[in-house]
């Protein structure tokens, strides 16, 4: 069924189709319309779920952690400072290997206060052990929310579905709402391997020693570092698993095929721009213009940011002359976060392309097509003396 709705409503409809059993959320702009829609669906009995109106984001994720530990499919959503307030729980949920899904409606982080978009909130949580997926439009929001549950449950690792505040959350676009019965087949009810069950009591998330200890039967069980290594290794397996899930989704619903990253005019391109979220869509126009002028440049929209798809990144970029990373977040005191990751991935390549970095649109600072055009063109025509620093676009100076 086609609908014209906001990105937040697209997310809520995805959550409804995923037959989530427990929702807990605390209001924060620009996430609120998503959770308001969920309240409406649950109060109106369109979605049979418990909605817990918590007093904080820390508690929102705590409720989801409790619910998933007791065997329910659970969902929350937040933005910016809300995500940071629950940061302890973000790490906890990954360590506890709970298959939660959370929408992060991307917003800049205070101080000073901003309610407008950038990616600093979710990027700051990249090392927590979650899977992070960045989407480009409303159709991808609803499809990815559904796929995210299947992915989270397949690998027992929580998934963040990140989409741009306002640019996607509050704009209206047409999208297709998948058929409910087909979603039920694609995403059946989940049976947890470990739950809080009085018939089979387990002490979950117990204090774990640095060393491996024997259990009561004398069998050696992992220590903390071994358990954390499992998380790291199994995050890696999420890449092929996500590809399989996306293929199954494409078979059922006819959409998908590029779950890790989508490329636009990258084939045979001399230069490739790498970006994430709605920004990657905007860059397509600039890429078209530059190609018209004879500059062979494409844009790669990275969807899966964690686990970082290193091999796919290398395959996509190693034959280019140059790579231009344009992003809405950075590791303060260093450089763009995505830029650093891309450079590291390309380091072992024999024919290593240059990598340039542009920081743009922080706290909703207007992103001008002309600025994008100038920056990309500057990199594509750069001499060897082009200084390898993160360049901030659109500063007021």
């Amino acid at each position: 069924m086609k609908k014209i709705e906001s990105g937040n409503v697209a997310a809520a409809l995805g959550v409804k189709l995923a037959k989530v059993q427990v929702v807990a959320a605390y209001p924060i702009t620009p996430q609120t319309p998503l959770t308001e829609k969920l309240s409406e669906l649950i109060e109106g009995d369109e979605l049979k779920a418990e909605y817990i109106t918590v007093e904080s984001e820390h508690s929102a994720l705590a409720v989801c952690i409790g619910a998933a530990s007791a065997g329910a499919r659970a969902f929350t959503a937040t933005s910016a400072n809300g995500l940071l307030y629950m940061s302890e729980q973000v790490h906890w949920a990954a360590g506890a290997r709970l298959p939660l899904v959370m929408c992060v409606v991307n917003r800049g982080v205070g101080a000073p206060w901003t309610v407008w978009n950038d990616h600093q909130d979710s990027i700051s949580q990249r090392d927590a052990g979650w899977i992070q997926i960045y989407v480009n439009d409303h159709q991808e929001i609803i499809d990815t929310v559904i796929k995210a549950f299947r992915l989270a449950e397949a690998v027992s690792i929580p998934v963040m579905v990140c989409y741009d505040g306002y640019y996607l959350s509050h704009t209206y676009m047409p999208f297709d709402v998948p058929d409910e019965q087909k979603v039920d087949t694609f995403l059946p009810e989940y049976q947890y391997k470990h739950t809080l069950d009085p018939q089979n009591p387990e002490n979950l998330n117990t204090v774990t020693m640095p060393f491996a200890r024997p259990d009561r039967d004398g069998v050696t069980q992992p220590g903390y570092m071994d358990i954390r290594h499992n998380l790291h290794e199994e995050l890696g397996t999420a890449i092929p698993v996500f590809e399989q899930i996306d293929a199954a989704y494409k078979e059922a619903f006819g959409r998908g095929g590029k779950p890790i990253m989508s490329d636009y005019r990258c084939e045979g391109a001399d230069y490739i721009v790498v970006s994430m979220g709605s920004l990657a869509n905007r860059i397509k126009d600039v890429v078209d213009e530059l190609n018209d002028e004879g500059v062979k440049v494409g844009v790669l929209s990275l969807h899966l940011y964690r686990p970082f798809p290193r091999e796919q990144i290398i395959a996509a970029l190693e034959n280019a002359k140059g790579v231009i990373v344009i992003e809405k977040a950075l590791s303060y005191g260093n450089e763009g976060a995505l830029f650093g990751d891309i450079k590291a991935a390309l380091y072992p390549c024999e024919k290593r392309p240059f990598v340039h970095n542009y920081i743009i649109g922080l706290g909703g600072r207007e992103i001008k097509q002309a600025d994008l055009y100038d920056s990309i063109k500057a990199s594509c025509t750069a001499s060897e003396n082009f200084e390898d620093v993160s360049r901030w676009i659109g500063l007021n100076r």
Binding site: H58, A62, I65, A67, S69, M209
Partner: protein, 301 residues
């Protein structure tokens, strides 16, 4: 409502905690936990933040408890218990009891926000706070319930300057279904109050005065004796609050008939943590206790 009164004869012989747990010798919590589980039974799920109970329940992969337990972050106990309850409701397993069990720091300080919200939402679980009056698990630091004058490792020279937070009264002001106070020195009273709490729907809060020999500076064998002193001198009162009405219960109810109570000095002198308390403070504390009991006698006597 449950009318059974527990005594050593009708108390179930079944144990739900294995021997050989990691509690310190003389630990008030270990008594409470053992007796508490007898009242709760196997059809329970525990939610536990960092506390002595975390350690007592065992280090991976060995557990002292036979009850499923979810270890959660410090501030999130009541929220995580809410999530467990919501999942059980969604899965049609509402008969299982959800029990959050935390210490005084985890309840009166870092956990009070999520607990306050859970009561306001009218959640359906039992929250138990064992109050040993400091952060014992991290090595005896002051908490919101540490009494005035007490030595802790971060009030090392002057003792705690401030008075303690009256947590059960704060919880009662939220109007949950049931609030009760208990003492580890009276475990059967605790057993009775748990039975009553789990017979009721909604939020139940039980606050237990819990002697801690290592943190209070007393001989292990005196744990129960000192706990009884606090109750019998009228310092820590055992009561229940239902529908906004406070009723003294168990040994505290008996004190109503007495005109005078033993002075608090004996309780204070039994613990080295109070060695810095001045005469003036003791006199002031005694006056507070006397005034409180005078009020009780007028209202309930």
């Amino acid at each position: 409502m449950n009318k059974q009164v527990t005594n050593p004869v009708n108390l179930t012989a079944e144990e739900f905690i294995y021997p050989g747990n990691r509690a310190c010798s003389g630990c008030g919590l270990s008594t409470l936990y053992r007796i508490g589980l007898k009242a709760l039974g196997r059809d329970s799920i525990f939610v536990v933040p960092p506390s002595c109970l975390t350690v007592m329940q065992g280090l991976y992969p060995i557990a002292a408890t036979q009850i499923p337990s979810l270890n959660v972050t410090f501030a999130s106990t009541a929220a995580a218990a809410t999530g467990v309850r919501a999942a059980l409701k969604a899965r049609g397993k509402e008969n299982i009891k959800v029990v959050a069990w935390a210490g005084d720091g985890g309840t009166s300080d870092i956990g009070i926000q999520s607990l306050s919200a859970a009561i306001e939402r009218g959640e359906d679980f039992l929250y138990i706070c064992y109050d040993n009056e400091a952060y014992m698990n991290t090595g005896v630091q002051r908490s919101g319930t540490t009494p005035r004058g007490a030595y802790t490792t971060n009030t090392p020279i002057k003792g705690k300057i401030q008075k303690n937070k009256d947590l059960p009264t704060i919880m009662a002001a939220h109007n949950p279904t049931y609030v009760a106070t208990c003492s580890a020195a009276y475990p059967l009273d605790f057993h009775n109050k748990i039975l009553k709490a789990i017979s009721l729907k909604g939020m139940k809060y039980i606050h237990i005065h819990t002697p801690c020999p290592s943190g209070w500076g007393m001989e292990e064998r005196l744990s129960i004796t000192v706990g009884k002193m606090a109750v019998n001198a009228g310092l820590f009162d055992l009561y229940e609050v239902e529908n906004g009405k406070k009723t003294l219960s168990g040994p505290s109810a008996k004190l109503l008939k007495r005109e005078t109570l033993p002075r608090i000095d004996e309780y204070l002198k039994a613990q080295s943590r109070f060695r810095m308390l001045t005469e003036e403070h003791v006199t002031e504390l005694q006056a507070e206790i006397d005034a409180k009991w005078e009020k009780y006698r007028q209202e309930m006597g």
